[in-house]
């Protein structure tokens, strides 16, 4: 009891500890609350949260690259695509229709790691020749890579299913699973459980477990020698190199670990959707994940997770629902004229709201960088650094003449 009290006292003012606690509580209570609030019809929302977990995983991974090591990766979705397609190839009938003629059905738990290591390998392959470039050139190389990879998958013809993509991927399986009233069944034990869309709660639980594992791993790496080396490279590469940090291999590790997380998320994404197509991995995915990291707070794991959760909620729940809401609001307010489609341009207020997604993106990125560059839940280290920069800016006279 005494130790618990000491723990509470020590962490009561630690924003990260509070954030972790709230996130754990939220994750545990979310399915129950949703099912209760929607009177048992909350499966859709639970599944949506499981999909959101994919973005949170990617935000954690990109945070390693951008936040910890200070490398701007604008083609992060490429590794996501590589993870997904790898999963699709090793866990579906697709390889049977390719010239290879033999389909592979690697179990989900192994295929997840195959996807992860393939993405990490791709990250190392791209990083090895390019990581010696300076910051913004690296951003451009990754951007080019992110544009190339989905197009390669699209053009690779029979190997990747071309434009339609690959269908009917294997779903995760477990030796057993608990069912209960949350899937409208009595309590019980199901042997040889298969994850299907009938039981989205299972996907949700799996997602939470995967996130927890990744957070623990990344957190430990950050607090290790490697994490300190990242910080050193981020702050001053020359000084870091002078103190004996092998900057190239350190950056390569950050890049590969970020890619691995993305590939991991991608493999899960393929399994959950049971389908991959090159349309799902465009630049917009990379920017979304980047916006999540920036919004949450670069260099802080719970920050990236929080940013991921908040932005996912805005983009995939709030905005898709907003048009209908605005429409009914306009009718209720007696402004029904706004809902009518005018052939000379006005497409109806619902359409306008759904088109404004990119405006919101842009406003978040610009607004956060200008008003709160440290993000919603800032990293204490980076906060100091940004404050330091501000002092410098004030100290330097902007204009010397009159």
């Amino acid at each position: 009891m005494k130790r618990v009290r000491a723990l509470l006292r020590d962490n009561a003012r630690n924003a990260n500890a509070i954030a972790y606690t709230l996130m754990i509580l939220g994750a545990l209570l979310y399915p129950a609350v949703v099912q209760f609030a929607t009177a048992g019809n909350g499966d859709y929302l639970v599944g949506l949260a499981a999909d959101g977990g994919i973005y949170i995983l990617m935000a954690i991974g990109l945070n390693v690259v951008v936040g910890f090591a200070g490398l701007l990766d604008l083609g992060y979705a490429a590794f996501f695509a590589i993870g997904s397609y790898t999963y699709a190839l090793v866990a579906s009938n697709h390889l049977g229709v390719t010239p290879l003629g033999h389909s592979l059905h690697v179990p989900f738990w192994i295929a997840l790691f195959i996807g992860m290591f393939t993405a990490a390998g791709a990250g190392a392959l791209l990083g090895a020749p390019t990581l010696r470039l300076r910051g913004d050139y690296l951003a451009i190389v990754t951007l080019g890579f992110g544009e190339i990879v989905p197009r390669l998958f699209k053009n690779a013809g029979i190997w990747t299913g071309g434009v339609p993509g690959i269908f009917a991927l294997d779903v995760p399986t477990l030796p057993g699973w608990i069912t209960g009233p949350w899937v409208n069944q009595p309590f019980g034990w199901v042997p040889d459980f298969r994850f299907t869309t009938d039981n989205l709660t299972a996907y949700y639980v799996l997602m939470i477990v995967l996130i927890a594992v990744v957070v623990v791993l990344v957190h430990n790496i950050y607090n290790s020698r490697l994490g300190r080396a990242w910080m050193a490279v981020r702050e001053d590469e020359t000084a870091a190199a002078a103190t004996g940090v092998n900057t190239v291999s350190i950056k390569l590790l950050a890049f590969s670990i970020g890619a691995a997380t993305s590939g991991f998320a991608g493999a899960f994404y393929g399994a959950k959707l049971s389908y991959v197509s090159s349309e799902n991995f465009g630049f917009v995915v990379s920017v979304t994940v980047l916006a999540m990291v920036v919004l949450g707070g670069m260099g802080n794991i719970p920050g990236a997770m929080l940013g991921g959760g908040v932005l996912y909620f805005i983009l995939f729940w709030f905005l898709p629902n907003a048009p209908a809401q605005v429409e009914s609001l306009a009718s209720a307010a007696g402004l029904g004229v706004l809902n009518q489609v005018n052939p000379n341009g006005w497409p109806g207020i619902a359409e306008e709201v759904s088109r404004s997604k990119y405006v919101i993106f842009g406003l978040i990125l610009v607004g956060i960088m200008l008003l709160r560059p440290q993000g919603l839940l800032p990293s204490q280290v980076r906060k100091q650094e940004l404050r330091h920069e501000e002092h410098e800016a004030i100290a330097a006279p902007r204009q010397l003449q009159g």
Binding site: R134, G144, F145, R151, E351, R355, G362, L386, E389, L400
Partner: protein, 345 residues
């Protein structure tokens, strides 16, 4: 060049292995292209080159803005490609006001309204770009380098979003005013009048820009600021005004590029600018970022490569090829074709 190549080939084992792979790939691509071109015949080749020159002229106009901004504040202005689309959108909305309705106006009567259209559009784009600089880049001039890059992406998304809300996400028809006949160049070689018009407009604009940067006082201030901002400030140059002027000129060229793009392709959509901007950026990097003639040459080359890939190989691989060139140039020769090797700041 040969010496440089030899040096780069013998520096370190891994670097030389990477460079050898690069040389082999480039040679293989050139040989494949040469074989296809030889099989295709001369007429088709000149048609492809004419198309490539027109496209390259537009790339060059957009690339100039990237290269000027990068040269002066070392920022990749991601919003630049969208300022280019904005030019097409604004001119599209201005056309009915200037009496430029498709099918009702042609020949010499076009010249004055088109001139007004160019001037007004370029001005509006330039003012928008100055606004972007003022809001998103100037406050972050002393921040870590990542910060303005992220606001640039944000501004790009914002502009795309605004155009999307304004005119919708679908392809818009852009009126066709340019002549459709072929101009003989002698020896049986012809060039489409449409392509020729585009090339002439772009070349005129680029000549004016070069003269301005090389001869005018503001141009001198720009070159000084690009070289050393602090020293330029000590010499009494108003840095903020000079940087704003750079954004002004870059956006005016991009706006003109947007009109030419619309007139040439007769179709435009809110999201064209991002990919097109990336091609133009590739052109700027290819020519040597920060180098004005380099951007023009890079634009023309990328345009020709683009049209050769479209014409002789597959359209679906062209984009991959252009982005592969981008990565290639950055990995093997980050200074581009004409760029100088500069120490990192």
């Amino acid at each position: 060049m040969v010496q440089r190549l030899r040096n780069s080939l013998t520096s370190t084992p891994t670097a030389s292995a990477i460079n050898a792979v690069g040389v082999v790939l480039v040679v293989a691509a050139l040989v494949a292209a040469a074989i296809r071109i030889y099989q295709g015949g001369a007429g088709y080749f000149f048609q492809t080159i004419g198309f490539g020159l027109a496209q390259g002229a537009i790339f060059a106009l957009v690339a100039l803005g990237y290269t000027m901004v990068y040269g002066i504040i070392e920022l990749i202005n991601f919003a630049h490609g969208d300022v280019f689309t904005l030019g097409a959108f604004i001119s599209l909305s201005l056309m009915p006001l200037l009496g430029l309705n498709e099918g009702q106006i042609s020949g010499a009567a076009l010249i004055i309204p088109l001139l007004v259209l160019f001037v007004v559009t370029m001005l509006v784009c330039a003012l928008v770009n100055i606004g972007i600089e003022r809001i998103a880049y100037r406050p972050l001039r002393h921040a870590p380098r990542l910060a303005p890059l992220i606001t640039a992406i944000g501004m790009s998304a914002l502009l795309e979003g605004v155009m999307n809300v304004w005119r919708g996400p679908s392809q818009l028809h852009y009126p066709d005013f340019l002549p459709e006949y072929q101009i003989p160049l002698g020896g049986g070689v012809t060039i489409a009048a449409k392509a020729a018009t585009v090339i002439v407009i772009a070349v005129v604009l680029m000549v004016v820009l070069t003269l301005f940067v090389n001869r005018s006082k503001l141009g001198k201030a720009m070159r000084a600021t690009a070289q050393d901002r602090d020293a330029a400030q000590l010499m009494g140059i108003d840095i903020n005004r000079t940087i704003a002027a750079t954004f002004f000129i870059g956006a005016a060229l991009a706006g003109a590029g947007g009109i030419i793009y619309g007139l040439y392709y007769n179709s435009v959509s809110a999201f064209d600018g991002f990919t097109y901007g990336l091609y133009a950026f590739t052109a700027a990097v290819f020519g040597g970022i920060g180098n004005i003639p380099g951007a023009a040459i890079g634009g023309i080359l990328i345009g020709i490569i683009y049209s050769i890939s479209d014409g002789y190989f597959s359209v679906s691989w062209t984009q991959i090829l252009v982005f592969a060139i981008l990565i290639f140039v950055l990995v093997f020769r980050p200074t581009g074709l004409l760029g100088m090797r500069v120490p990192e700041k």
